[in-house]
Subunit: 270 residues, 3 copies
């Protein structure tokens, strides 16, 4: 894992403008599309079983988000996921609320069973639930000691057979062998709905242009954190509304050198 690549990876996203197919929840569609456009990627939302395979097959990445799932949408996710797998298009899964209802937990697991998922991004409680581990949920975020979350990411990656990114105050990314910590960002992100969902789609944009999914996830997290820090400095005192708008502005203007300067990536293992 070459963490000096952070800036170059951002530039690669901007240069190649990857098409990111999102099957995501109704709360965050607009923010997700605007965030991807601001970053320089090209979002497409398509849900109908008549077209998802066709769209996923030409995309650079497919992002599946179960935030407001229903059975029709889950069927579409599987059709899109199979098409993506056949064409070698990386698939990112955001298991929103796994553990909050049995239906979400089971759906997330069945997507992991039936599809070849490249990267899972969620909070610690969601990741723990996916692998059948108890995890105390404390508020919206789910945290215990940092060391534990790193270990959870490693175990989840091993058990799920993919890269797992667990985000929180510190983010941990692991492929089971290599584990990295990404620090930074801003607490106001927890007051913006869809901040995690958009992050999963940004990881998708990176995965479309960076072959190593661990490197893609780490670079995406570092850029996201840098944009959040700069947005908080610009508008954080005003509140979460102004912060959200400044964050979209910063996804557009954050530079590769900003990301290299502000990136706080540490190799925990591997």
């Amino acid at each position: 894992m070459d963490i000096r690549q952070l800036g170059a990876n951002l530039q690669e996203v901007r240069d190649r403008k990857p098409l990111v197919h999102n099957i995501t929840n109704v709360v965050v569609t607009n923010f997700t599309a605007n965030g991807l456009l601001a970053l320089g990627a090209s979002p497409v939302m398509a849900y109908a079983r008549q077209e998802v395979a066709e769209i996923a097959g030409i995309a650079g990445a497919l992002v599946l988000n179960i935030g407001t799932l229903n059975e029709v949408e889950v069927e579409a996710m599987k059709l899109a996921g199979r098409a993506a797998n056949e064409r070698g298009v990386p698939v990112v899964l955001d298991p929103v609320g796994a553990g909050a209802s049995a239906y979400r937990t089971e759906t997330a697991r069945s997507l992991l069973d039936e599809l070849d998922i490249a990267i899972v991004r969620g909070n610690a409680a969601e990741a723990a639930n996916l692998i059948g581990r108890d995890w105390t949920i404390r508020g919206v975020d789910a945290g215990a000691g940092g060391g534990d979350v790193a270990e959870l990411a490693r175990q989840a990656a091993l058990k799920l057979g993919c890269v797992v990114a667990i985000t929180g105050e510190t983010d941990y990314v692991s492929d089971g062998r290599r584990t990295a910590a990404v620090r930074g960002g801003d607490a106001l992100l927890t007051r913006v709905t869809g901040a995690g969902c958009l992050l999963s789609s940004v990881i998708g944009a990176y995965a479309a242009v960076v072959p190593d999914p661990l490197e893609a996830a780490v670079a995406a997290l570092a850029a996201y954190s840098a944009a959040a820090e700069l947005a908080a400095a610009r508008a954080g005192k005003q509140g979460p509304g102004s912060f959200q708008i400044a964050f979209l502005d910063l996804l557009w203007s954050v530079s590769p050198s900003d990301v290299e300067r502000l990136g706080k990536v540490e190799v925990v293992e591997g």
Copy 2:
């Protein structure tokens, strides 16, 4: 009704961060979630019949909004509503567009028939339609003399057997016995889509922590009006886009003492 409680009630929402389950329309999901997060509550949107009872059962309040209803969603509302009723979770109904189509009027009435609704929030035309009274609709808002709206709120509360909050230039809240008027706010709220819908969800957040539904609704309206006034002072001259963002900022920063200072609550009766 102790209107001096307005500030304390806001603090209670912030301290307890109630989980508010929203089954709401596709236009306002994002704004509703961001408004609740800004205020300090914890929003969850879940629509699938496989999970709504489970989610509603652990929520502090359930908010049903028929703004873009369909038969699948109405079924989910009833499943969620029954689970909420069984667990004593207060249910808020926003009968968006009751009267604009027969389907909306009938659906709103069937929800009121089949569920134990704690609070209805709508405009005067919607409230009048729910109880089968004619009401001249003038533009988006629905208004005649102030006295009439207070009386309409009282009659609707008696007929529907719950608290009714009718919002407009002046808001009226009644449980059939006690009626209060809440003044303030800003006309720019009528240029922000979902301002009424988010208000219904904010009433849900208050109902989760304030046992008396009349007091909950009045306190929510007072906080909402105070935030709107402060937002208009900060950004109203720029237009409804900037006002909307400032309003989210103010839901985050409005203080209990702001609400007590700006709150214009008058007991009309009771």
Copy 3:
């Protein structure tokens, strides 16, 4: 075509506050409603087959947008479209992604076959696909020489039997006999999701109050471009988030004289 009418047409929208019924995609519902409210129109979103005919029948215009279509929604579009046709309510079609999947292309064509569409608004690739012409897509926008797009608009209008507005760096509007070019706007619009979708709905608002659909479309494009230029001057340097908010502000504050002063409308033919 009297292009001096641009300012008067905007005033007409503000004075008459037309009800615009949108059956649109889940990504842009909120932005569309806020944009129409800012402009002074009255948006309504309704999707259920039980009510769409009733709502469309009382609307000033109906806007159909296939951005996240599915079979249930397409059925609702046809029900609403037939009701609008029977009542003489103008129908605007936004064929989002026609050409991106077979399902979208076929659906857009079937809506054009079965309904009397007054105005189609799309990019050059979408318009070309609707009439079975090859068109090289270059990125999000679709462009070749300006002259070609004007000719494409004319041919599409003749073949589809309605007004066709093709938007891009320069917009072209044709009814097959008369063709106009509208210049201006700002490239940041391409970084705001739903900028094209909202434009289709704004065209709907104009079509509700301006009898000639060509004049309605041209006046809507001119007002939209003027608002975008003023928004870019106010907030463009900050980025697409701030631009989006300023654009909503400007849809509210752009004046008839701004539109006449900034409007760059040229009659290409007719």
